[in-house]
Symmetry: C2
Subunit: 445 residues, 2 copies
């Protein structure tokens, strides 16, 4: 492969050498990491004992365990259960500092990152791991109506919408208005959409059932709209079938082969084999499609359709081996020639790989290309319902659900969070009470 060959032919020490700028701490190799998600943090941690200077820059002060974010949206967990201050995670890593700031651009000549507040952060190696946002396929005007779920504020906003819809339905006097308020449409039946739909169905049918007087929350309609012909297209066929059965059991209505053609206050319009139709729905949640962070723009190069930056098999730029792009922001081809999916394990493995690559380069050694090891795919659907594809085995139902829970608690950062999430789940499991049903924030949407 050409880019790899090119890279390997450069002297490794030049690709990663210190250079003309010296920092306060002297001439140690400066690794700047943009983004403290799974990829960025795993890179930072893999550099813990190394003789380099690590700077982690993030817009937020916390690392977010995104796989459980939907549980904040459906009021099952509190934000603090799934987020940990980046500083706490790195507090004992003496060679790392954390800066809160918004990236505006990268000066590749001067080897500096520009922040929105005017600061310039010099680097010798740069790791871009700034993730992705939800995307609306050219319909950004849908965002206010159909929010996506990537950040904590997205999740508490969606929680507010969901809970307010029930509150307003309780007060509605017209039957039509009540029906619209009790219709929830989730767009996209990937893992996030499926998880949201299942959890929302349980919220309505169990946790809220006894709370209202004028409405019966069990009558809420939960629609899961998917353009493909089956949910969870990243899973094998027969697990999609299992997921479909489990969703039906929870009362979720699956609309397959259905494209969303319009989103507005009143509801959504979909198009499927039966033609176009409008479904009145007060709450629409977007779980379809993502767009990479604007890293391509910062780096002054062209991204692919989803905004991702194409990288070499060593995860750096073909023409600039000291700049690495990983995680959801990178377009990295897997062994099968297809792009690796935007999931946490890919980002984590890439972060570790890049850290090791840099250290080997500093020691004058070259590295093998990155190879992703896929431990499997997991999605939960509801109480004792999940699907798991581990490659060498597939599971569904209770066993997959327990496995899903175990894996997620295991990978949560912070022992405190593990304990508190486990307790919240046990509590919810035995008592059908969800813990965080607060309508916060002050807007009236």
């Amino acid at each position: 492969m050409a880019p790899e060959a090119t890279l390997d032919r450069r002297p490794a020490s030049s690709a990663a050498s210190g250079g003309d700028r010296s920092s306060a701490a002297g001439s140690r190799h400066r690794v700047v990491i943009l983004g403290a998600g799974f990829g960025g943090l795993s890179a930072a941690k893999a550099l813990a004992k190394a003789p380099v200077e690590v700077t982690v820059i993030d817009r937020r002060n916390y690392h977010l365990f995104q796989p459980l974010l939907y549980q904040v949206a459906i009021a099952g967990l509190s934000p603090a259960d799934i987020a940990v201050p980046i500083r706490s995670i790195l507090r004992h890593q003496a060679n790392a500092r954390v800066l809160m700031g918004e990236v505006e651009g990268v000066d590749r000549q001067a080897r500096e990152v520009f922040l929105a507040d005017g600061r310039r952060i010099p680097f010798d190696s740069l790791i871009v791991a700034t993730g992705a946002r939800h995307a609306y396929f050219g319909h950004d005007e849908w965002e206010p109506v159909a929010p996506g779920l990537k950040q904590i504020d997205d999740a508490t906003g969606i929680r507010r919408r969901i809970l307010l819809a029930f509150e307003r339905a309780e007060m509605a006097t017209a039957e039509k208005a009540r029906e619209r308020l009790l219709t929830f449409a989730i767009v996209g039946a990937g893992p996030t959409g499926v998880e949201l739909a299942g959890a929302l169905a349980e919220l309505a049918k169990k946790a809220l059932a006894a709370d209202f007087r004028a409405i019966d929350p069990r009558e809420a309609r939960i629609l899961l709209v998917e353009a493909a012909e089956r949910p969870l297209t990243s899973f094998p066929d027969h697990l999609s079938v299992k997921a479909t059965t489990q969703l039906h059991k929870l009362g979720v209505e699956l609309l397959l082969g259905a494209k969303v053609t319009r989103c507005e206050e009143a509801g959504i319009e979909i198009e499927d084999s039966r033609g176009r139709r409008f479904i009145p729905a007060a709450t629409v949640i977007w779980a379809a499609g993502v767009q990479a962070s604007p890293a391509a723009r910062w780096l002054g190069i062209a991204g692919d359709r989803a905004g991702r930056v194409a990288v070499t098999p060593h995860l750096n730029l073909p023409d600039d081996p000291r700049i690495f792009v990983i995680g959801d922001t990178a377009l990295c081809l897997g062994a099968n020639g297809k792009p690796l999916p935007g999931v946490a394990p890919v980002a984590k493995q890439q972060g570790g790989y890049v850290a090791r690559y840099i250290l080997r380069a500093l020691a004058g050694r070259s590295s093998k290309p990155f190879a992703y090891f896929n431990y499997g795919n997991l999605a939960t659907i509801g109480r004792r319902a999940a699907v798991a594809d581990l490659g060498w085995m597939q599971m569904s139902g209770t066993l997959a659900w327990l496995f899903w829970g175990g894996v997620h608690i295991f990978f949560l950062i912070g022992f405190r969070n593990r304990i508190f999430v486990l307790l919240s789940w046990l509590w919810a499991y035995f008592l059908f009470h969800s813990g965080a049903r607060l309508i916060t924030g002050d807007d009236n949407d």
Copy 2:
């Protein structure tokens, strides 16, 4: 006392009779309760088994345990730990319904409450328990600079300010700017101010100590500004002295006999016996002075200087015995002739009293005037530091602190919250980790 005599001479059944409007459920006596704080909820619960129809109206969907709100502001607890959906609390109370809505006014002739969305809620008896907001003594322009602490969104906003101040100090290049960012001024040394100051000092000096590289959070200055000559003026003198010692031990600077004369972005100006001076401070928190909810305006009567509505010894209006005002919104004189303080136990006892009053009146019986039983005053200052005045005994230090913790956990509504708060505290106590250090919300103040 005149109003009481007047009231007692009215036939009790007329004070609480049904009347011209009949509700959907027939002719049961309709009790409408405005506000689901301590007062409103205790009234609702005391009516649980009674043959009346209870409607609880609140702007929020949750009951908030305000005595622990400062812990959300200093990132010790999550909002969901101290708030419970009102519907959950009343879910098994068949005669109660909950409406989320903003009160606009009361039509005393038609006996209806107007809500902002145009709904009108008829009542036979009305209990106004809508609490208080912080007040700025005619300087409302200070609010954006010096936020108060009454609601969850206030607390998460203050949490954001506090944590952002440390983040910005870490990045500051000028010494002056860093000093200002690391100066926190709390105005008002009542229980809330003292608790905030103590907890903030511990956050800076313990929990955050190892998290930063460019600054030492232990150098943060925490100022507690109080116009009186001692903190905790509602406590006996010698407990104020103990509190002062404990605050000093935590490194809090007490500025006594100091009036705030200006609040702005850059800091606060205070005036004391040494004259006026300006203290640069990036974070100012307002814990002085409250203003009752606009109940007087809704009822078309004059409130006192703090907006409170004067009530008879039976807690109703002199000229309208079917309208009760309780809690922070009521001006109710205690046995000593002074107004009862705006604390949870007063509101709770008043709520229970009014419920019993209404039921007795419906049965044709009169009630004795309300009498407040004071179980004591509590304030915590920090780790193993608190003061308690139980009347028959006074405590300070570790014993008072344990007592404070026990009482607060006991009175939290919801077993789940008790468990989770207890666990959070044990965790923080043994590990000096605080659990909810998230900067959320999207504004940049």
